[in-house]
Symmetry: C2
Subunit: 599 residues, 2 copies
């Protein structure tokens, strides 16, 4: 297994040279930190990635969770990971200090998430699902819930989950039927089934806390009648004793990849003794849950980039070491073979991977910075960052998820036949990566979210704000002679995006809702390419600036590599919008008109 799975230098580049993480220190919320503290977090996270997460990467795939006597048994390393992530403050990294958190900016908090998921994605979901679930409790729950659950979750003793999906509903949350019957004892009596619940039960923790969507008896139909509950597997009593809360594991799924984490089917209230505790307001559950869903979508983007990063470094190591073939101009068969990294097509595959990974990570950190600014600013400024996050979330989830699969596939291709075999880790990464366009809202759902909700919201304000951000970057790049052609390229691309958007919104205004949204997935793809182009231009500005100071050795190599990858993106990836423009402007309606009997 390749030793390297993330690029520390690139993380520092993004943190300090592109996103100026120390600029956040001026806000009271983050004032207790320092650049030195950020550095230490990065170094510790790298060490944990290497020593705590990485060693069990293959093992957890080979020995997936088992369902034994109604309980789920996981790899013993999970317990250690939860304990260390608890005691080390990794679960509570971005939580407020008053809750025992470190109150780190998300821009910093995303880094360990990226590193841990690159090291061992399945293992990383245990602490991070707990983090997200706890955030939901302290955002909307009452003091009693906070005091009862948060400390144990942050300690890594109790696992958090998000329990949304039901067998008959799938992505259609409006159709969930789990019920919550009010009692006069401060809790609700829960009954229902949930499927595909990650880490829904396991023996690496003492308890599992489900953040669960259900309907209070008598609630209106549809999403307006959904409420959010805390439903623990074991419920804490008044005297600290724990009682079984009638939460049963009906089974676990056997997955193609991402096998280190159990995905469970759960049954609540089979014996009519399952208690749920309302979080936030009745019937506002879905809107509360969106906090966690949005975080989870960003987390999927981070993990997808992480997995692709691990695959890239495996491919890079192999390509440097594997001699095969000769330069195209070397005709003498007795001349020595060269490492395959000398072949243009192999470099193309590696550049593609880098373009996807580093472009994605940049966008995700951009989102992290918006999260941080939204938290510390007020009024119009706060709303601006909120809207930017709203519109970027489906992109930050989907671009890494979809392109990450292709990146891992190209990594596998670099290894040829060996990539297809389990001597190397890439085949596992290929299987692991495939989950990301599915969970936390499929790509199709993200497309509808972007085009159907985020673009039109508030008269297109979110989209306009994003265009302004992109144009600001273009303006800076135009001042740099070497970046001018690329700045113009992105300008052209942004214009095409505006045209296409105008065309599609026009269809919506004519009431052609079906046609308007028929190609939402392609629109998302288009949007993603332009957005990542923007992030590459941002990175190129920083790299060009650094190169003007004439660095040498490894530093020079890093910035040159950065600029080659940037140019690769603009020459090989950005042109993909040409075909998408054609297809989207045509709005042929084929997929609407096609009848199911014609298949």
């Amino acid at each position: 297994m390749a030793e390297k799975f993330v690029n520390e230098r690139n993380i520092r580049f993004l943190l300090y040279e592109v996103f100026d993480a120390p600029s956040l220190l001026k806000y009271t919320r983050y004032a207790d930190h320092s650049r030195e503290a950020f550095d230490m977090i990065l170094e510790t996270a790298l060490k944990l990635g290497r020593d705590l997460f990485r060693p069990s990467f293959r093992e957890m795939d080979k020995n997936p969770p088992e369902f034994i006597n109604g309980r789920v048994k996981v790899h013993p390393q999970v317990k250690e990971i939860m304990q260390i992530c608890g005691s080390g403050g990794w679960i509570s990294a971005t939580a407020p200090q008053e809750l025992g958190g470190q109150q780190l900016p998300a821009l910093i908090g995303f880094i360990p998430m990226f590193i841990f998921s690159a090291a061992n994605y399945a293992a990383s979901v245990y602490p991070y699902l707990t983090d997200g679930a706890a955030h939901l409790i302290y955002s909307f729950g009452n003091e009693d819930l906070i005091n009862t659950y948060i400390p144990r979750m942050y300690a890594g003793d109790w696992q958090g989950t998000m329990a949304l999906t039901e067998p008959q509903a799938g992505s259609s949350l409006t159709d969930i039927t789990t019920t919550a019957e009010p009692t006069n004892q401060g809790y609700y009596r829960m009954k229902g089934q949930k499927i595909f619940i990650s880490t829904g039960d396991h023996d690496g923790v003492q308890n599992v806390v489900h953040l669960l969507l259900a309907r209070i008896a008598g609630a209106p139909p549809g999403v307006k009648g959904i409420s959010l509950f805390v439903v623990p597997r074991m419920r804490p009593g008044d005297n600290g004793e724990m009682a079984f809360n009638d939460v049963h594991v009906a089974g676990i799924y056997h997955k193609m990849g991402y096998r280190g984490a159990p995905i469970t089917q759960l049954s609540f209230g089979e014996n009519n003794d399952c208690r749920g505790y309302l979080v936030g307001k009745p019937n506002r559950g879905l809107s509360h849950m969106f906090q966690l869903m949005n975080e989870a979508r960003i987390a999927v983007g981070i993990a997808a980039a992480g997995i692709a990063s691990a695959a890239y470094y495996a491919a890079l190591e192999y390509s440097r070491e594997r001699p095969q073939g000769r330069p195209l101009t070397a005709k003498d068969p007795t001349s020595p073979q060269v490492p395959i990294i000398e072949h243009a097509d192999v470099k193309r595959m590696l550049l593609f991977q880098r373009a996807v990974i580093e472009g994605s990570l940049s966008l995700l950190m951009q989102c992290g910075k918006y999260v941080d600014l939204e938290k510390v600013l007020e009024g119009k400024e706060r709303e601006k960052y909120n809207l930017l996050l709203e519109i970027l979330t489906p992109v930050a989830k989907t671009y890494p998820a979809e392109m990450g699969i292709l990146a891992v596939s190209q990594a596998l291709q670099c290894l040829g036949g060996y990539g297809y075999c389990d001597e190397f880790s890439v085949e596992q990464l290929y299987r692991d990566a495939r989950i990301h366009p599915i969970h936390e809202g499929t790509t199709g759902i993200q497309g509808l979210d972007l085009l159907g909700r985020k673009v039109p919201m508030k008269n297109g304000e979110a989209a306009m704000l994003l265009v302004q951000e992109i144009e600001a970057t273009i303006a800076i790049a135009k001042k740099e002679p070497q970046l001018q052609p690329y700045a113009r390229g992105l300008e052209e691309a942004a214009d095409k995006l505006k045209n296409v958007t105008g065309h599609l919104v026009g269809l919506a205004m004519q009431g052609k809702v079906d046609i308007f949204l028929a190609d939402a997935t392609l629109y998302l793809e288009f949007f993603g390419i332009v957005t990542i182009g923007w992030q590459w231009l941002l990175q190129a500005i920083a790299a060009q600036k650094a190169l003007s100071l004439n660095p040498t050795g490894m530093e020079m190599n890093f910035y040159q590599g950065k600029l080659y990858t940037f140019r690769y993106f603009f020459q090989y990836e950005l042109p993909k919008i040409e075909g998408l423009t054609r297809t989207l402007l045509a709005s042929s309606g084929i997929t609407v008109e096609m009848k199911k009997d014609f298949f």
Copy 2:
């Protein structure tokens, strides 16, 4: 597991309405057959697919070959498959009657291959590798070899393999080092290692016959010193007794997919007692082997389309049955959910799969027809079909291989979380499909073959012949009013292909070989899209003609579905050449200039 894995109606459409299979009956070689015989072959192949291959599809994945005491143990069904494919004449389907074959046209012979690989790809390679290896023996081997090996191979008693790859050489065949030392007893003494040899040993047959590349002692370096040998695991003696031929299995690989067939590492002549029998002329081995390699490349294309077909029908069945969500315009959450096939985005994913599968199969059958015509025609005509095959082989391998992966991925996406779990067959198909861009020459190798060899060969004659074929189809389509815009679309696309080709060949003529070939993989992608567009236009002509006769019911649905898929290809897939044109005309040289230290 979905019951349907191929579309019989579509096969008949291609055989009879597009490629007019009975038109081959006028040639003496095929005159013993009839349309009725073709129909019977199709029906029997479907039955075998269903009853012989399909039932062990999942089992062979769950119980892959084992390496025990130096031998490979495979699923017991393999033996039955080899026996039935032997006795039923499937291994020798296209072989000459004088050798016991059925002398079927390739156009017909490709159909069982497609069906069996859709039913159970790993199982299908046992008979088809044997077929290809036997073909090599009777094309270039002497009578003795033919008499000794062919009957047992066609009976399914002996397995055939192709043994090219070596550990230190990989794709670089010029670097193979296995040696053949001449003796004065009519055989050579072999010594060397081969890796990644499919079906290189197993207990489902009595013997394994390797068609192996090696160097005769003293041969010139490089590909000009490679010869072809038959090297059996057990060598037949004069009295019919069999002696161990010093061929050892060093191990088997554990693969991500395609697990039902063993991929072996072999060691020849460890005890200096491995006999090889020269096939054809000394030092002409690579050119002989190309017959098998070209066949194997087409076979990979067929298998890739077959796997995607199986995934498509699994996704189609699921999409018809799974209720989830409502039409975009239905706001009432109490209205019933609709099957997901009603959603435009799901139809888009299904259309994409169909466009890939049926476009690929059409191209492959086009190649089959060229194979048949090449065999029966003479002089200029024969050369024409030979050249068309030469230029289309890398495309017919790569388009299905690369796009098949994306098609299976979209099938998996249709099933959402279930697609990722092993309750359904799609996750296995996703793993199985990934082998195809790797084996029988990676996609990178195919790109170099197309742009570096096939396009420039004979002053571009192959490319010109192909353009003529495409233009002939365009001319017919232009006479049909409803097809005119598509005919013009393909004309435009072909013009772009000509421009890009001219630009690239221009670079070659300036001696810029590196830049010329740097984007060969993208050129192949471009070429593939245009070629499949041609095949879709061909199919649309036939479908339009059939629709003009006002068919009803299922027939009408079939032709409508065909035309929708055709339109889908032209609206969603063909525009992808726009971006490729930009990238290819730019010839930025990034991948040539990028230094390995910059990664």
